[in-house]
């Protein structure tokens, strides 16, 4: 008896695209993947790894340049229609019509798939129950929250039970609670109903939930197997180091990144987690010996990435220096007066309260994080702090003044990097810097000096003449930060600076933040990557416009500590806090 063919099999698949600039991009470069029946496979990798292209090929929406893609044992090129009749596919952004109600979206897809009569009604009932969208059938899809949209998209895809379900980044931009619910639904589909699922994600912590992980990077598959195999790559090579007393974990982490024999270092619960090139623990002067710890998927992933990243690392070394401004030694005294002070801050849009009595203080040289799902009120708070939006109520001072009420000159003291970076795509790197320097009123030798500083400091020399829209992702972020730092602000606001960046670029980014904070710059940053909270001195957890907790990352994690959860992750702590808040505040 021959075993059943795999549900998805790719052999030596190559797919290239031509960019507008004429260069050829190899989105898939000789991909071999095999997913068995009833498997839940997670497709993991940074942006641009080729995940979406692979899913689109499997769905028959694109054709490979060469190689074979077989789905359900059929050649997708020849039998696209019969394959499509048996699979489900949810594109990024869920494929919903915003102008149609929940019910109308379901009706449309049911009609498209030819699901009628009693089976249709039964299916509706089941899907609405599963997604808990029953009470919202008349609401327009565009008015749903990210998490609800994602569940509706999934329901539309499942209107006809598929044998294979392809989900393209279903959890992007969705809050952790909704992410967990979605994974519960997916897990139930696989184990309870025998559906095979391939789901792509940029969240590394989601991979262990799957039965199989496909790690992709730059069009190549780096690993394909049980998630544990990826974890095991780092077995015996993961340690924790306690920083010297008085030293911030991120300071030690930044230094350890450059130490020989260390692949990765991240701050974790006040300690620094390191991954080494071999199993001998590094000896670090003046520090307690490292303690060995359990490896995670991320650790293995970083080792895999490191093996392909030698080139990029050289770029990083060339690009990164300690700030030219001599770092002044800062001791964070609790008595130090706050640079940013917010009391009872309220912002209403019509009858919707985006920011609801928010209080926090940030001291000089502190890195303060606002952590929360999309739509929690982070960006609105930022805009008020930067004086771009008037507050509906409450007090706020930034460097001693309310920027909305004082003259624009006070804004000289702050730097702001907006979401998606406010750069001029058609201008070159140098022209962008020149423009922002003029906008901040820099002139003459100071202007020249600061632009030179920015190019040197952020490693932009090789790209100086390139227009900013053509910069690789990580460099766009560098340029945006450079532009915001030209006028040497005391306070830096960064709104989701790492959104869409791959783990290495994010690590690079946080290294800069660490250096800036050591130089005395106060940094306020928003993020929805829970693990990034570890880089902050203090974080505020914000949801539905309210701050529910405000403390150091280590203390917040302690709150979620239970017997069955002795070492909660930042995400678990976040879920604990937000769920408690939502229970108490229905």
């Amino acid at each position: 008896m021959t075993p059943p063919p795999p549900i998805l099999a790719c052999q030596a698949v190559v797919k290239t695209f031509r960019r507008e600039t004429g260069e050829i991009v190899r989105a898939l470069d000789g991909v071999n993947v095999e997913v068995g029946h009833g498997t839940l496979a997670a497709l993991v990798g940074p942006d641009g790894a080729g995940k979406t292209t692979l899913l689109r090929l499997a769905a028959g929406l694109m054709t490979a340049d060469s190689g074979d893609v077989a789905v359900l044992g059929m050649d997708i090129r020849r039998d696209a229609a019969s394959v499509q009749a048996r699979i489900g596919y949810m594109p990024q952004r869920f494929g919903l019509y915003d102008d149609l109600s929940v019910q109308e979206n379901l009706d449309l897809y049911a009609d498209m798939h030819g699901v009628t009569g009693p089976p249709r009604r039964q299916r509706y009932e089941r899907l609405l129950h599963m997604t808990a969208l029953g009470p919202f059938t008349r609401r327009l899809a565009g008015k749903l929250s990210g998490g609800m949209k994602q569940k509706l998209g999934l329901a539309c895809t499942l209107i006809r039970q598929p044998e294979l379900l392809l989900l393209d980044e279903p959890t992007v931009g969705v809050d952790p609670l909704s992410r967990r619910e979605l994974w519960e639904i997916i897990t139930d589909l696989v184990h309870g109903q025998g559906v095979s699922v391939v789901v792509s994600t940029t969240y590394l912590d989601e991979a262990p939930r799957a039965g199989m992980a496909i790690v992709m990077h730059q069009g190549k598959v780096l690993a394909c197997g049980p998630p544990d195999e990826v974890c095991h790559i780092a077995t015996g090579r993961v340690f924790r180091v306690r920083p010297a007393s008085g030293q911030a974990a991120r300071g030690l982490q930044a230094r350890l990144l450059d130490a020989p024999g260390i692949v990765d270092a991240v701050p974790e619960a006040g300690l620094v987690r390191i991954v080494t090139v071999d199993t001998t623990p590094p000896t670090l002067a003046e520090l307690e010996p490292p303690t060995s710890t359990r490896e995670t998927f991320r650790d293995g992933f970083m080792v895999l990435m490191q093996s392909t990243q030698t080139q990029a690392d050289e770029g990083l070394d060339q690009g990164f220096h300690q700030p030219a401004t001599a770092p002044t030694a800062f001791s964070l005294q609790p008595t130090a007066s706050p640079v940013v002070s917010v009391r009872g801050l309220v912002r209403r849009f019509g009858d919707f309260t985006a920011v609801d009595h928010v209080d926090f203080q940030v001291r000089r040289g502190e890195v303060f994080g606002l952590l929360g799902p999309n739509g929690a009120g982070k960006t609105t708070t930022f805009r008020m702090l930067c004086g771009l939006l008037p507050a509906s109520g409450g007090e706020l001072t930034v460097a001693g003044v309310d920027l909305h009420k004082t003259r624009a000159s006070a804004r000289q003291r702050i730097g702001y990097v907006a979401q998606k970076y406010s750069l001029y795509g058609q201008l070159s790197v140098v022209e962008n810097l020149g423009f922002f320097a003029s906008a901040y009123g820099l002139r003459g030798s100071r202007r020249r000096g600061r632009i030179e500083w920015a190019i040197r400091e952020f490693g932009l020399a090789d790209f100086a003449r390139l227009t900013s829209e053509k910069l690789p992702g990580g460099y766009k972020q560098r340029l945006a930060m450079a532009a915001a730092l030209l006028h040497e602000p005391e306070i830096l606001f960064l709104d989701e600076p790492t959104s869409g960046a791959d783990p290495l670029a994010r690590r690079d980014f946080w290294r800069r933040i660490t250096a800036l904070a050591e130089g005395g710059v106060t940094v306020i940053v928003t993020t929805h990557f829970m693990e990034e909270a570890e880089y902050c001195d203090r974080i505020a957890i914000i949801d539905a416009g309210k701050i529910w907790a405000q403390d150091t990352p280590a203390n917040l994690r302690q709150r979620a500590r239970r017997d069955d959860q002795p070492e909660p992750t930042m995400e678990e702590a976040f879920l604990e806090i937000v769920e408690a808040a939502r229970r108490g505040n229905p």
Binding site: M62, Y89, Q92, G95, L96, Y97, D107, D111, M112, T157
Partner: protein
């Protein structure tokens, strides 16, 4: 949760109906569709119907009456009474020149002191001096002046007074098809072209590109829907919307602006449907190729709306354009549609004009729809 779609027997019919219904709901709910499909045409109609008129009325002129003989006075009175002029009668040329220099008048009509005597001698001359900075305007004023003189001459003849000789006095100026010489008569039919172009090309290009941008087409492609079903689902609702726009234009032409309608309504509707198909074809083709709302709207604006306005004969006479530009107009569907519209509205069913223009539109519609069907595949790249 029953839907009307369930009464359709075949899955194919059910899918097409579901797409049409979806599209219609979207048009009704989306303010930008309503704006382009209904509000903009209405504004255009009111703007062109009431505000923008190419007619010139109440032109300030100075009539120089140097010797007020009865017949000369009558001529001057002709100018004073005409709705086209706002005439100031002066008795000496220097005063008139002064008014002209100050731009208080746009023209000087000089009736010479020997007017009456020369008239009898059959050798009349009236001097018309126009302020010619705006050449177009000057030409219109000149024509009006000739008209006013001609009207005076006709009245004189009617009263049995001899008006002999050639020259401006005997100008014969007849206006065919637009006897009232009212620009609304050709502007309002021309509006049908703009409205059909807006709905057919721009709105369609916008909504298809939007589906590409939002990833909804990607989700539809995975369903059993066929490419021609997607096309029909897009074409039919906007075809109907275009016909509604047509009805708005025709009703306002007839009842608001009293434009004569001499041809058959069926011929007009048929021609409009043909043009609508061409416009839809262009819109679908552009949006399938470009897949971005912003670029699609810019390109449709450039290749359909602006040419329909400038190069279709709607605002400017094609024959007075340079040859090269005239050549370009032959590839523009709007040119044929404008010719059809103006004929059907103002001249009647002139088959020698209708048939070739309709044939050109039909040919374009077929080519475009075949091309559109060709580029619409259930593939992303």
């Amino acid at each position: 949760m029953r839907s009307i779609a369930e009464i359709f027997v075949t899955p194919r019919a059910r899918r097409i109906w579901a797409l049409i219904r979806k599209e219609s709901v979207q048009v009704l709910r989306d303010p930008s569709s309503v704006a382009i499909g209904i509000v903009l045409p209405t504004i255009l109609i009111l703007l062109f119907g009431y505000g923008l008129s190419l007619d010139v009325t109440s032109v300030p002129v100075a009539v120089v009456l140097e010797n007020p003989t009865p017949r000369a006075t009558e001529l001057a009175a002709g100018f004073r009474m005409s709705p086209y002029f706002d005439a100031t009668v002066v008795t000496a040329m220097p005063r008139a020149q002064e008014l002209m220099v100050q731009r208080k008048v746009d023209a000087i009509i000089r009736i010479r002191p020997d007017f009456a005597r020369r008239l009898n001698g059959g050798d009349t001359e009236i001097q018309v001096l126009t302020h010619a900075i705006d050449a177009n305007h000057a030409r219109i004023v000149e024509t009006y002046a000739q008209g006013a003189v001609a009207a005076w001459a006709a009245r004189q003849r009617g009263e049995g007074k001899p008006v002999a000789g050639a020259g401006p006095v005997t100008v014969q100026n007849r206006l065919w098809f637009n006897e009232a010489f009212d620009s609304r008569y050709f502007l309002v039919p021309g509006l049908v072209v703009l409205v059909m172009t807006l709905i057919g090309s721009m709105l369609t290009a916008l909504v298809v590109a939007r589906e590409w941008e939002r990833g909804t087409l990607e989700a539809l492609f995975i369903t059993p829907v066929a490419p021609d079903e997607i096309l029909l689902g897009k074409t039919i609702p906007y075809f109907v919307l275009g016909l509604i726009g047509l009805a708005i234009c025709l009703l306002s032409a007839k009842f608001l602006f009293h434009v004569p309608f001499r041809g058959s309504l069926w011929v007009l509707t048929g021609a409009s449907m043909l043009y609508l198909l061409v416009a839809l074809g262009i819109g679908l083709l552009i949006s399938s190729a470009l897949k971005s709302q912003f670029v699609a709207i810019m390109v449709t604006m450039l290749v359909t709306f602006l040419p329909a306005m400038m190069l279709s004969g709607f605002l400017f006479d094609l024959r007075s354009m340079p040859l090269a530009v005239q050549g370009i107009t032959y590839v523009l569907p709007a040119r044929y549609f404008v010719a059809l519209l103006q004929t059907v509205f103002l001249a009647g069913n002139v088959w020698s004009v209708i048939l070739p223009n309709a044939a050109a539109l039909a040919g374009m519609a077929v080519v475009l729809l075949i091309l559109t069907r060709g580029v619409t595949r259930k593939k992303l790249a």
